[in-house]
Symmetry: C2
Subunit: 320 residues, 2 copies
């Protein structure tokens, strides 16, 4: 079994990899693969799942190949989400509390969570009544698709990192559940379940409890841009609204209902981000940090900084 040392990943960068302030923009496509490989090694997943080195690499290359070249939903977004999930695992000190199967499922879900994203969201697919929407009965269309594409990649023997896992049904089912949890339409339901588990006493020995936590982690990681420093976050916000703008242009062209928060003629970016941080991010990160309140400095404080920035920006725009 290859050791962590053999991985081509500069030491300096490795140290920062667990930090939410990690600068994802300085990595090229191949370094991102190296860094994800490192996470699988570091969390003990490679050893526990007996993944041959070439299999892990072939799997990650297969996934990268299937990410589309969208402004936002591309392989670098995949890397960011995976890195933030890893960072949360480290900052919440979950290594010894959560089983390696669960950690591996979380990493794998993060890696695959937007694979083959077409740059058009579920709402577009519903309104345009695309074949994918019909296939998945208008429910979590893209998320079901991401999981199906992940399964197809894994179906190639040389890319199947679960090949030597005994309870691979359970692990892969968890991966699917975690990818499906990234559908924001299910936000309330997932938050309620997790909050209930925390309120009644979170039990790390209860796998239902653990799975509800992992869903919160992948959800936090998926929308984590504003936790990052302004210089790292800001290009992501630009890219997100560039992708939104493309979608709303297409919706207009095809005479479909236009998703208002995407329409550059309507949306106010600072206000929109402020609303997202207040309404979605802060409540979710707050609940998550109840498991390790000292992690608040890493996740909650930067969110308040971002809020302040957007408030000032809004005031300026209104000429105050």
């Amino acid at each position: 079994m290859p050791s962590v040392e053999v991985i081509n990943c500069p030491k300096g960068i490795m140290r920062d990899l667990a930090e939410p302030y990690f600068d994802v923009w300085r990595l090229d496509r191949d370094s991102m693969i190296d860094h994800i490989e490192y996470m699988y090694h570091d969390l003990g997943v490679v050893r526990a799942w007996k993944i041959p080195r070439s299999t892990l690499r072939m799997f990650l290359l297969g996934v990268r190949e299937r990410y589309q070249d969208n402004p936002y939903h591309n392989f670098k977004h995949c890397f960011c989400v995976t890195q933030m999930a890893y960072s949360i695992i480290c900052k919440l000190r979950l290594r010894n509390k959560v089983s390696v199967d669960h950690l591996g499922a979380l990493l794998t879900a993060a890696v695959c969570h937007d694979v083959d994203h077409p740059g058009l969201n579920n709402s577009y697919h519903c309104h345009a009544r695309t074949p994918l929407a019909i296939l998945y009965n208008y429910k979590s269309i893209l998320e079901q698709h991401h999981f199906a594409v992940a399964c197809r990649i894994l179906s190639n023997k040389e890319r199947n990192i679960f090949r030597n896992v005994n309870n691979r049904d359970e692990v892969l089912t968890n991966v699917g559940d975690l990818i499906l949890a990234t559908d924001l339409a299910r936000h309330k339901e997932i938050m309620d379940t997790y909050r209930c588990n925390i309120d009644t006493g979170f039990d790390f020995k209860n796998s239902t409890h653990v799975l509800s936590l992992l869903k919160i982690i992948i959800k936090c990681a998926d929308v984590s841009n504003e936790v990052r420093p302004e210089t790292v976050a800001s290009p992501w916000v630009d890219r997100l609204f560039a992708e939104y703008s493309e979608q709303s242009a297409r919706e207009k062209r095809e005479r479909l209902p236009v998703t208002s928060y995407m329409d550059p003629d309507v949306v106010n970016v600072p206000q929109s981000q402020e609303g997202f941080i207040r309404g979605i991010m802060l409540p979710m990160y707050d609940e998550m940090c109840r498991l390790a309140s000292d992690a608040r400095a890493y996740f909650i404080s930067p969110l308040h900084d971002a809020l302040l920035r957007y408030e000032i920006q809004s005031l300026r725009e209104r000429g105050v």
Copy 2:
């Protein structure tokens, strides 16, 4: 709307296309696309669905690209099944009895019914507990996969032949039902439903009745090799057992249960084909031809010829 005439398809071949004795081996990859295009035109599907010519072509090229290069389950098999489905439509005189939406769904299901087939059957996927098996809960694994891949191809706007169809949900759902019907594990259930409809009086105005007929047609087309002349059928039988042999070798290598009818050390090809014709094909084609008894000459007689050939071959092998 382009007319049928503009299609690059030699007249002589076009005439034979509706015949079960059509020689599928003389067509190259591009001619197969031309011929399938012709079927969509000829059955009125292009006109009814307002399919732009480039869309139909892009769709078919997309499907062809996703057929793997297996000994048996390859694009030429797809062509054979589509051509036989078309032949059955013609010989059973269904053009004016079945709606164009149903005819189009049948053609499309035939075209897509084995797309991305990996050359390993459902039994292998179950025993090897592959990610696809887990994704589809060990039920009609490959068939669900073929339909999902078809939906992915159609999700590309330039390849979506359903784009201008009003009731595209219903049409695409029918395509899915027809692809799923090709799972031989569901043979008895599908035969029973169809037989019941015929026994109680088949009603072409009842879409449940029609769908049960279309399932029988795609099933008949899927296993139609032995309806074809010996020179056309024989290479298919060789290819089928070559693919089987590769699977059983892999099952042995991976210490999985070996599918006995695939094992070249165990199987007797003439006996196996005889059993398949008697047990599956003849009863199914018999029921199908109850709708137009004069079609028996095209489908039942060649099957009896094939049976006779295999019986003689078996006698010879036993040194009689």
